[in-house]
């Protein structure tokens, strides 16, 4: 048994006594939590993150220069880029994609900004209820939202065209959803919860003293808003705009459900079609070239996002706590404001859910007609529940959700703890690496994994649930790492130092101090990840085959094959499960805040 002193003896790299301490940086690896973990853990995490986040992106880029379009083949070429960018329709595609992304971002943020202002800065009635329910639209993922709205808006038989027709005459019935504005509307609705969650704190934390100072300096209400309040929101607005633009450039849910049928092609649907050609092998080279071109655009976006979030942290330190924000008095507009919020909930949750429920219960899809009431039945559910394919999907989705949630949480915990606690200066690179997937659209990450594992037979996960779980781990890592960092930052450093001084090893400290203290964060993150894995479509759709179908892809294929009743039945069940999980999440985060 070696003594403590002997075990403490370390090889000290090079720093002879005479060398000035300023250059003796290697000595910093002597760390409090035990000499071995001080260096090994950050290095291991860096290697893991390199494989998980940098390699997929590089694979796509490399593939776009390979003649065969596969990363491990030989030769270099620019032909794929030449082909893609010499086709006239590519420019049309890019234009439509930009219109779709920008339009839905603008619509979503505008709606969310009004909602956030009403909830955080006015005396609107029922604002606490709204704040409690703001997570609910998470139970309506874009895929379900899109299907729900298609059902509501179907030409001639959808309930909304019928209503418009009876009020404004037959001409109004022609309002369609299978076009860019329709896609923008639905995608924008889907953006509201995220935008709200990012804008509301900015509005809440704005110390009214700045506004009061402006008012006493003689500024009118409008001037105050424009010159003082708005500049405070700019960083938050910029960061949410960038994030949503990146998502919008390659989201596939809405383009799949609405765009495909309306022949509105955007980048994501084009890539999907290229990956699933009617015959022959996919044109991997062109797919990679499209993705790489897009990545250049996104790299610019990410840079803006990074700058903006840096800035918003700077602003956040200005505001303090312990003041009561002055609320704007709405007066006789109070019922109008509450009505507006209720209207949003109707559009984002209630109407799509009712449309899906109705469709799942009617014997044939014929819009909303009162004469169908007597024919309502659970037949679609009965058929579905007798299908082995559904049960396989349930098992696959559950396995993926649980595996991805646990793996992502564990990885996020280690990454976050290392970033916050390590004294090594280069651990900040872990932060940057864990954020990379934010700049990679879900669909593109799916493509990258296909490229990697299609050729890499040594790791036989292609075509299994594990490749989808891996995809989810990667795409959800940035948010998980950020949430976990916030959690670790709230654990006072001395609580861990007290454990170390008490004799606790690195693992004992993690198990007995860090994890128990982070329990609320860990639970909330687990549920959030399960919800998002269950509803996720864009990654899964690129990675599914016969053997590893998940609920969202089964739902889409039923919908695509003209089985709206069964698709709606899955959607209703999924929404109920997601709703339950979101309710649990809401309760957890509120309970956590009250502690």
């Amino acid at each position: 048994m070696p003594t403590g002193d002997e075990r403490g003896r370390l090889a000290l790299a090079g720093a002879a006594d005479g060398v000035a301490s300023a250059v003796a940086l290697p000595e910093r690896r002597w760390r409090s939590a035990g000499a071995r973990s001080g260096y090994a853990l950050p290095l291991a995490l860096a290697a893991l993150l390199l494989v998980l986040t940098v390699v997929p992106v590089l694979t796509v880029i490399v593939s776009s220069f390979r003649p065969s379009g596969l990363p491990l083949s030989d030769g270099w070429t620019l032909q794929h880029f030449a082909k893609v960018w010499s086709t006239a329709s590519t420019y049309r595609l890019v234009a439509d994609t930009l219109i779709f992304a920008a339009g839905s971002t603008a619509f979503g943020i505008a709606l969310a900004a009004v909602l956030a202002w009403l909830v955080e800065r006015t005396d609107m009635p029922g604002r606490d209820l709204f704040r409690a329910g703001i997570l609910m639209p998470m139970a309506t993922p874009p895929l379900l939202l899109a299907i729900g709205w298609v059902l509501l808006m179907s030409p001639s038989i959808g309930i909304i065209p019928s209503l418009l027709g009876s009020v404004f005459g037959e001409g109004a019935k022609a309002i369609g959803i299978y076009n860019l504005p329709g896609m923008i509307f639905v995608q924008g609705l889907a953006y509201v919860p995220t935008s709200f969650l990012m804008l509301a704190p900015a509005m809440r934390n704005m110390d009214p003293v700045y506004e009061e100072a402006a008012r006493t300096a003689g500024a009118a209400f409008g001037q105050t808003l424009r010159r003082v309040s708005f500049p405070f929101l700019v960083p938050a607005l910029l960061s949410v705009t960038t994030l949503l633009m990146i998502v919008g450039m390659l989201t596939f849910d809405v383009p799949a459900v609405i765009g495909q049928r309306g022949n509105v092609n955007v980048m994501s649907s084009e890539i999907f079609n290229l990956m699933n050609p009617a015959n022959g092998l996919p044109a991997y080279g062109e797919i990679a070239a499209l993705n790489s071109s897009l990545f250049v655009l996104l790299a610019v976006g990410l840079y803006v996002y990074y700058r903006a979030t840096q800035q918003s942290e700077r602003f956040a330190t200005i505001s303090g706590k312990g003041y009561k924000a002055a609320r704007f008095r709405l007066g006789r507009w109070r019922p109008v404001a509450a009505g507006f919020v209720a209207f949003y909930f109707a559009l984002a949750v209630v109407l799509p859910f009712l449309a899906l429920l109705w469709t799942s219960l009617v014997p044939y899809f014929a819009g909303f007609q009162t004469k169908l009431f007597s024919l309502l039945s659970f037949k679609a559910y009965a058929t579905l529940l007798g299908e082995p394919r559904l049960w396989e999907g349930v098992v696959n989705s559950s396995v993926i959700a649980v595996a991805a949630a646990i793996a992502t949480t564990v990885l996020a915990l280690f990454v976050a703890w290392t970033i916050v606690r390590s004294k090594l200066r280069w651990v900040r690179i872990l932060d940057a690496m864990s954020m990379i997937p934010i700049s990679v659209p879900f669909l593109m990450m799916g493509v990258a994994l296909v490229f990697i594992f299609f050729g890499l037979r040594a790791i036989p996960i292609y075509g299994t649930v594990w490749i989808i779980a891996l995809g989810h781990l990667i795409v959800f890592l940035p948010l998980a790492a950020r949430m976990m960092q916030t959690g670790v930052l709230q654990v006072h450093r001395e609580l861990e130092e007290a454990a170390a001084v008490s004799g606790a090893t690195f693992l004992a400290n993690l198990r007995r101090i860090v994890v128990p203290l982070l329990r609320p964060t860990i639970l909330a993150l687990l549920i959030w990840l399960v919800v998002h894995s269950l509803r996720e479509f864009s990654v899964a759709v690129m990675l599914v085959s016969r053997k590893n179908e998940v609920l969202s892809t089964i739902l889409y294929s039923l919908w695509d094959q003209g089985e709206p009743g069964q698709a709606a039945a899955i959607a209703v069940m999924l929404m109920l499960v997601l709703g339950g999980l979101v309710a649990a999440l809401t309760w957890l985060t509120r309970a956590g805040r009250e502690r």
Partner: protein, 370 residues
């Protein structure tokens, strides 16, 4: 016994500047002593304490606890914090909120190398809680303790392992003034009865003077003076120490001559006799430190006492500040504004011509620089 030898630590700030937190810190603490590191924030006292605990790693130097070397940069020895067997009380107390009082105290017994039987754990926890007078609180959740109770709990947790050394990092700074005074006495009582070698970090000079066997005053990463509280207060070695501990007045002058027991300093409008000190050459620019409580005021008109006794300086009252327990008078004299603390009953109106009297033995000679 605790030994620190030429500890050195530099930090690189985000903007690339290098800060020296410890610049050759050395000391030796005898067994059972309470040794205080006293200084303003940023002086390196906390870095020194955390280096002893193993929470920071110095760039260079040696630290030994008892006969065991726990850190030696030249021999590449580094014992991690969890194997140094020390007790530490943190500034924030660092009470784990997810455990009750019992589990907090029992934690060091549970994570150490040796596995103790539960009965043994219970006995040692009970003993530690008895030491800090917290019997009966075992099952109280840690979140439901007052500041003073948290402080006692933190101390019990630090003592339960019967460590060789106890480290206290500003343990009283989060308590209100009344509680701080009683905890000060209690801490010292416990420390003395256990006879445990203790390092105490504080920026509060009163605390340091009241509790310590030895006080080390730190400035810019160095120990500038070390000694028992009385000698530090009565014979500060530098301008910084004189100013940081207690209040004082400085009168600038030139050393005229030095005898075995007295030095003569030429000041504006006269001269001062001071206690003799080493290391000064005649003709050197010096400062004379005179504490405001060591001076008496007389009206200039009043008959002077016997010649050759105290130093006498003529001055004029600028301001009188009544503080209850004393009356602080600001006197313009010898080219400076001097504070003089008088009995609250005596009062000299602004404008009054006065004579200041100071015992030469209480006038301390200091180098002008630093």
């Amino acid at each position: 016994m605790l030994l620190a030898d030429r500890l050195r630590k530099e930090y690189a700030l985000a903007d690339g500047r290098i800060v020296t937190a410890m610049d050759g810190v050395s000391f030796r603490i005898a067994p059972g002593q309470l040794y205080t590191l006293l200084g303003p924030s940023g002086c390196g006292k906390t870095t020194t304490l955390r280096s002893i605990a193993g929470l920071e790693t110095p760039d260079r130097g040696v630290i030994a606890i008892g006969s065991a070397v726990v850190f030696d940069s030249s021999k590449r020895v580094l014992v991690p914090a969890n194997r140094r067997k020390i007790g530490m009380v943190f500034q924030s107390y660092a009470i784990w909120p997810h455990m009750d009082v019992y589990e907090n105290v029992a934690f060091p017994l549970r994570v150490g190398g040796e596995r103790l039987r539960e009965a043994e754990v219970a006995a040692r926890v009970a003993k530690a809680l008895a030491t800090v007078r917290m019997e009966g609180f075992e099952r109280r959740p840690a979140t439901r303790l007052s500041g003073g109770q948290q402080q006692r709990l933190a101390l019990a947790r630090a003592l339960v392992m019967e460590p060789r050394v106890l480290l206290l990092d500003e343990p009283l700074s989060n308590l209100d003034a009344k509680l701080r005074e009683s905890m000060r006495l209690e801490l010292r009582r416990i420390q003395k009865s256990l006879g445990i070698t203790t390092v105490y970090v504080t920026h509060d000079q009163t605390e340091a003077l009241a509790m310590s066997d030895i006080v080390a005053v730190m400035q810019d990463g160095r120990i500038v003076q070390e000694g028992d509280p009385r000698s530090i207060y009565l014979r500060p070695a530098t301008r910084f120490v004189a100013e940081f501990i207690g209040s004082t007045n400085f009168i600038a002058g030139t050393l005229a001559r030095m005898s075995n027991d007295e030095a003569l300093v030429e000041i504006e409008g006269g001269s001062l006799r001071c206690a003799a000190a080493n290391g000064f050459a005649p003709g050197a620019r010096v400062l004379v430190s005179i504490r405001p409580e060591d001076v008496t005021l007389r009206a200039a008109a009043a008959p002077a006492a016997n010649e050759g006794g105290p130093n006498r300086i003529r001055g004029r009252v600028v301001e009188e500040i009544f503080l209850g327990s004393l009356a602080d008078h600001v006197i313009a004299a010898a080219g400076a504004e001097l504070h003089v603390w008088c009995h609250p009953a005596s009062s000299f109106a602004p404008g009054t011509e006065v004579v200041i009297e100071a015992d030469p033995a209480r006038c301390v000679l200091l180098p002008e620089k630093a």
